[in-house]
């Protein structure tokens, strides 16, 4: 199915995700789990940022580095998760 207007020209036809783009069986739950966990980690990072700002404004800026390390670990974890999930496993392997 190609992108562009439908034959009658009344609505936009967007190509549906092809079979190849859909996760293989069993991967869908993994993706959902990673997404839920990732959103939780984002909330923690936001909290770390507010604590860092609070410390900085209170003049305790030298203690912020520990929070930056924690936030960086979450970010690196996210990158690794995206890399792992973007690998397409061989079906039947």
């Amino acid at each position: 199915m190609s992108a562009g207007p439908s034959p009658d020209g009344r609505y936009v036809r967007v190509p549906a995700a092809s079979r190849r783009d859909r996760p293989v069986p069993g991967r869908e739950a993994l993706l959902l789990g990673a997404l839920a966990f990732g959103l939780m980690m984002l909330a923690i990072q936001l909290w770390l940022l507010t604590v860092a700002l609070e410390l900085y404004l209170a003049g305790d800026g030298e203690r912020v580095w520990g929070l930056a390390v924690g936030s960086g670990c979450v970010f690196v974890g996210g990158l690794i998760a995206v890399w792992l999930l973007s690998r397409r496993p061989r079906i039947g392997a």
């Binding site: 984002l42 936001l46 209170a58 970010f75």
Partner: protein, 173 residues
């Protein structure tokens, strides 16, 4: 009767047509929003939050937030115990308050409330520093917040006696 049935049968189709004109997109477009894309977006957001925290960390290491140079506080020597004197420090536009507390001696703070920067003043009869904007209260001995929305202590001004005069040395958060 037959005509009425035909009209009734035609109605859902009409509704469908109206819906199409209000929302002229294909249903299948929904399938193109993938969880992978959302996960990537979450990772980008995570990177932005990390960058913010890292920036604060670097600023905290580099930035020395102490400011001001030694300056005499006029009229400080004559300040009776339990009273306050308002003066300008470290800059000409910065308000500060000097307190002579019984049993503690002289202490000075910036008058800028750590909540939203309103001016804090000393209420002698209750012995507390208050911010009238949101009823924030600070302990005059330490500058720590005791009530209201402020979460951080008032910036403290270091004092020193030099030849019978009281000097403000520097302001530190």
């Amino acid at each position: 009767m037959t005509e009425a049935r035909e009209r009734a049968a035609a109605r859902p189709h009409d509704r469908d047509e109206r819906w199409r004109s209000d929302f002229p997109y294909d249903w299948e477009a929904d399938a193109s929003v993938s969880r992978r894309d959302l996960l990537r977006l979450a990772v980008i957001t995570s990177g932005a939050l990390f960058a913010g925290t890292l920036l604060l960390s670097l600023l905290g290491r580099r930035d020395d937030r102490r400011r001001g140079s030694p300056r005499a506080i006029p009229g400080a020597a004559a300040l009776p115990a339990g009273e306050a004197l308002y003066f300008k420090y470290p800059g000409e536009d910065d308000q500060a308050v000097l307190l002579n507390i019984e049993g503690t001696g002289f202490v000075a703070y910036s008058q800028k409330c750590t909540h939203l920067s309103c001016s804090v003043y000393y209420r002698a009869e209750k012995g507390e520093l208050i911010c009238p904007c949101h009823d924030g209260k600070f302990d005059p001995r330490t500058g720590e917040p005791t009530a209201g929305p402020p979460q951080r202590r008032l910036p403290r001004i270091t004092l020193e006696q030099r030849g019978g005069e009281l000097f403000a040395i520097e302001e530190a958060p």
